[in-house]
Each structure stands twice: as C-alpha cells, then as structure tokens.
C-alpha cells in the first residue's frame, strides 16, 4: 500500500465515522437503563422500545406518516412514470430542461419549499374564499399529501429514467408493429421491462416522504402530525431514551426500504 492509498483510506474512514457516529450514539442511547442520558450508562434495558407505544403522539404520528407516504407515493408514481417515459424518448434541449425542472424540488431547501407552499396554500384559500368557496387547504391531509407528491416526483423520474437507460425503444415499436395499441404495448412490453425501476421509485419515494421534517413542519394541521414532527415536539420538553428508541424504529424501516430498493436499482447510480 502506497502512502497515497493509505491517506485515501484514512480520509474515507474519517468521513464514514463522522457520518455514522451520531447513529451509533442514538442506537446506543436507546438501550440505556436510566432516564437521564449520562455517560457511561449505569445499565442496559429494552424498556424504552416498549415505552414508545405508550406515547399516543408517536403511534398516531407513525400512522399519519405512513398514510401520507403511501398516498404521495402512489400519486407521485402516476405523474412521474409518464414524465420519465416521455423524457426517455427525446434527447433535445427541451427534454434536458424539463428533466432539470423536475429535479428542482429536491434541490430547494425543505424550509424554503415548506414556507413557499404554506404561503401558496394561504393564497389559494383566500382566492377560493373570494370566489365564494370555503376551501380548507392549510393543515389538511390533501395539502400535506400534495406537498409530499412534490418530493416523490423527482425520485420517481430519476429512478425510472435510470431503468429506461438500457431500454431499446424499438421493442416498443415492435409491439406496435405487431398490432398492439400504445396502451397494450406499454402494459405488455415497456412496463415489465422497467418494473424494477418503478418498485425502486416507490420504495425510495416513500422513504423520502416518511422521513421529511422541514417541509412538513409548515403544513401539518392540529392532530395530524407526522412521526418526525412528533419526535421534534417530544424533544422540546424531554430528552430520554424513548426518543432514541423511536429513531431506531424509524431507521430500521427506512434502512430496510433502502436495502430493498438497492436490490432493484443500484442507488449509487442515481443518487
């Protein structure tokens, strides 16, 4: 091993440690016996993993996050898949521009996106009221889901486009030539060939929605908090290993979803 390789390995290990250390501490904390976090721990216990379920806000937050995530993923797929198909078929400047545009929601900071959406929803309500309609947008499930669709779409487009990369457009044309209408050609030829990309998009989009905090903060209504927000609110007045246990649950869910996604589409290729 030359000194260059060694330096590279050292740098890699340092940054990996930097990334992983907080996660290690959170997981460690979840097993502490005592309520107040002090080092070194005075003993270990599994009780916090049970305690999570005694807090109603975590359970309902989990359910809300799940509902919003599933709904946003389904809608996001319905919009993102056709967009990816259209983008894969042409390679001009318009397609490139649209591709960039569709990636914007993940480029903009979540706080900015959340503020902008909040203001937009307020304006929409005022405008609807001016027309004589009483529309509840702010804090509604619909408003929250619509916002989450926004973060599912970029990932869907990216992942489905990646799976279309090796797709020979002439197989689609072959189906049309043999008598298939465009819809049947899509269902019987294109869809089976890009299915891994779609599964990956669904899983990854769900993960992004489930873990989102910054944007959702502006858009949740009373009694309808998501899990990340429930965790934040709990932290505001108490710090005990319960919060670490909740985080462990969330990490397990997201981690397994990511592993599953990676099985269908190599994430390192698109992220």
């Amino acid at each position: 091993m030359s000194w260059r390789d060694r330096a590279l390995a050292a740098a890699a290990l340092t940054s990996l440690g930097f990334v992983l250390l907080p996660i290690v501490f959170v997981v460690w904390l979840a097993f502490f016996a005592q309520e107040i976090a002090v080092f070194p721990p005075r003993g270990y216990s599994l009780r916090w993993f049970n305690a999570v379920f005694e807090h109603r806000q975590f359970v309902s937050g989990f359910i809300t996050s799940l509902q919003v995530g599933v709904a946003a993923t389904i809608i996001g797929l319905c919009l993102g898949i056709p967009a990816a198909l259209a983008l894969a078929r042409r390679h001009d400047r318009v397609a490139k521009g649209l591709n960039q545009l569709l990636l914007l929601p993940i480029v903009a900071p979540g706080v900015v996106l959340g503020t902008a959406l909040y203001i937009f929803q307020v304006e929409a309500e005022i405008m609807a009221y001016g027309q004589g309609y009483n529309l509840a947008v702010i804090g509604s499930a619909g408003g929250l889901i619509a916002a989450h669709v926004l973060i599912v779409i970029p990932w869907t487009v990216r992942l489905v486009l990646a799976s279309l990369e090796g797709f020979d457009q002439s197989t689609r044309e072959a189906a049309l030539n043999l008598g298939a209408t465009p819809w049947i050609a899509f269902r019987r030829v294109t869809l089976p060939m890009i299915r891994p990309g779609i599964v990956a998009a669904a899983l990854f989009g769900f993960v992004m929605s489930f873990g989102n905090l910054e944007m959702s903060l502006f858009l949740v209504g009373p009694g309808r908090t998501t899990l990340p927000i429930a965790i934040l609110q709990y932290l505001e007045w108490k710090l005990d290993p319960t919060i670490a246990a909740v985080s462990v649950y969330q990490m397990l869910l997201i981690g397994s979803a990511l592993l599953l996604t990676n099985h269908f589409v190599k994430l390192s290729r698109v992220v």
């Binding site: 002439s170 197989t171 044309e173 072959a174 049309l176 030539n177 043999l178 008598g179 298939a180 060939m193």
Partner: protein, 356 residues
C-alpha cells in the same frame, strides 16, 4: 401479400428534408431493396411505410388499402428491426405469439401458427428459450418468425444483417431470400451494404439525399447507371470530368481524348465513366495489334493492390489523371511492376457518358 405503392412521399423535419418525393411501386411478391449511404432517407421511407413516421405529404397504399393515415398497429406490416427488438422478458414462443394474441386468434390456432413460424426458421426446438440465451443469428431468425407469423401484407427489413458477423451474414442472406421466394413475400429491405443489396433484390432503389437516384435491376444499375452517384455507389468506376468536342470525342479537363464511337453527343460538362474490369492492360512490351475500335492510353503504374480474384492496377496518365484497371489473377498473366510503363485499352462502347 400485396402490392405496395408509395406516391410522392415527402418527409420534412423543419428546414431539413429527409425524404423528397419518393414514388415506388413494389409488385406483389417482389423483393425491393432501398440502397444508399446513411442519411439518404431510406430508413425514414421504411418507417413511414410501417407507420412510425408521419409523412409531410404523399400517399401510401398496401394492396387496395390506403394506409397513409393508419397507425402502426392497424397496418399489418411485418417489421424486422436492426436490433431485432425481441421482448427480453418473453420466451421465443411468446415473442412469436405476441402478434397473434393481438389479433385475438384462438389459443389453439396461435400454438399451430407459432410452431409453423418457428419451423420455418428452423428454431422449433428453441421455443421455450429466452431471447438472451440465443446467438445473434438465432435472435435474428426469431425476429423474422415473429414478423412472418402475423402473415403481414408486406415484410419490412431494416438493415437486418448488420449485427451479424460476415460469415453468418452470407448464410442468412440466402436463407431470407429463399424464404421470401418460397412464400412469395412482398418485401422492402433497407441497407447500406451494396453486396447485400445486389445479392438479395429483385429490384433496387438507389437513394441519396432523400431522393431516388435510380430504380432498376442489378444489371440496370451496374451497366446503365443513370448518373454519377449510382455509377460510383454500385460497384466501382473510373471517372473523368470533361466535355464532348464537335468530333464526338470526349475530352477530359486534363486533355485526354476518348473515342466514344457513335455515342458522342451531349453538351456542356459531362463525366466519362468506365468500370475497372473493362479496362484492359498490356505491358508495353506485349503491345497487341492495333484494333480500330479500341481506346488506348499509356501511363505508369503507381500502385498494384492484390485483391484475390483480381489485382487493381493504378495507372498515372501523362495528363496527371489516374485510372484503375482490374486485372484478373491467372497463373499465365504477368502483373506489371510499379513504375512500369503500360497501355490501357478498352472497346469504344465500354465507357459511359453521364450528364448528371
């Protein structure tokens, strides 16, 4: 199978014209080959007939049906793609069955037609295989079987052999031709490979820059090319630019005079063309008796390229012009050496005057 007619077909993309006014009449059972360099509009023409490209103007008919505005799935054409375009997630039999399922044939009939089509391309035992488990040549035959199973009105072949290696290509060429003749398939093939075109076609269409340059049989194109492009694209030719003088002689820019016999007419700039194999070569020492119907030029050998059956002798004329003579390789014929002085001769009626 049916007669195919393309009438004044035009395709423009904004400013550029991909296909300019193509009119073709393919008889029932005829094998028509569109030949030309890449970008000449041959593939666009084929894709218009398949329905993937909408013509800017013109009409297309298959049999007595006007298909100009029909979508691809209602045209009943059988297209074999350059990349084969097999469905990778379906077995060979499922690939071939696809078109029949689209036509809602009863299950039993589909099974019979699939095995018929696979037997036709000698792939019966491979029905259950997946496409990726087949060689390139086998995949190509599956694509052919899939296109034929639907009993198309016209078979369309888009550079079907270009992904095969040279030896296999020669075999598949004969195989496709035999099948086409046996089944009486009206066929349109697109290729840039002139050998492929010449060996398979009943008639050929030479295209360049979106236009038809000549339609005819192999002999028509080779022996009576309509213009300089066809003469140069189909086979090889020596060209000299020049004019016809009042005496009926061709006079090149460099001053070479060529006797055209009685055919010396035409005004303005013309091109003289002659095939290398029509130019005979005699070493100065073996000079034959004067024949009055012969053109004779002398020059110096610059390059001799051995090509197996023949050797190309490149000759520099005193005027600075160059000609190539193709000399058949026989044990009894001595090849001239580089730098040797030689005579080129050819009968007066061998050359051609091209005005275009």
């Amino acid at each position: 199978m049916a007669r195919v007619q393309l009438t004044q077909l035009v395709k423009r993309y904004g400013e550029t014209t991909a296909v300019a006014d193509v009119t073709l009449d393919i008889a029932q059972g005829e094998f028509m080959v569109l030949l030309g360099p890449s970008g000449c509009g041959k593939t666009t023409t084929l894709r218009m007939l398949a329905g993937f490209v909408k013509p800017t103007s013109g009409r297309m008919s298959v049999g007595d049906r006007d298909v100009t505005s029909l979508p691809p799935w209602l045209r009943n054409t059988g297209l074999v793609f350059q990349s084969y375009a097999l469905f990778p997630h379906m077995s060979v039999a499922e690939n071939v069955a696809f078109g029949l399922q689209m036509r809602r044939l009863p299950r039993a009939d589909i099974a019979i037609r699939v095995s018929e089509a696979l037997d036709m391309v000698r792939l019966g035992p491979y029905a259950a295989r997946m496409p990726r488990a087949l060689s390139g040549g086998q995949q190509q035959r599956v694509a052919l079987a899939r296109a034929l199973a639907i009993r198309p009105d016209v078979l369309l072949l888009d550079e079907p052999l270009s992904n095969l290696d040279a030896k296999l290509r020669a075999e598949v060429r004969v195989e496709i031709r035999e099948l086409q003749q046996r089944l009486g398939l009206t066929t349109m093939m697109v290729t840039h490979d002139q050998e492929e075109a010449l060996t398979m076609a009943d008639r050929l269409v030479v295209m360049a820059e979106g236009q038809v340059r000549q339609i005819g049989s192999q002999r028509d194109l080779y022996e009576r090319p309509a213009n300089r492009f066809v003469a140069g694209f189909v086979g090889r030719a020596n060209f000299m630019d020049g004019t016809i003088d009042p005496g009926g002689f061709f006079v090149s820019k460099g001053g070479t005079r060529i006797n055209l016999g009685a055919r010396g007419n035409g005004a303005g700039a013309v091109t003289f063309s002659i095939r290398p194999e029509h130019v005979h070569l005699t070493a100065q020492a073996l000079k034959s008796a004067t024949g009055k119907n012969l053109n004779r030029l002398h020059g110096t050998v610059t390059v001799a390229s051995y090509l197996g059956a023949a050797t190309d002798i490149h000759v520099l004329l005193p005027t600075g012009e160059r000609m190539v003579a193709s000399v058949p390789n026989r044990p009894d014929v001595r090849l001239p050496l580089v730098g040797e002085s030689v005579e080129l001769e050819w009968p007066m009626d061998s050359g051609l005057i091209l005005t275009d």
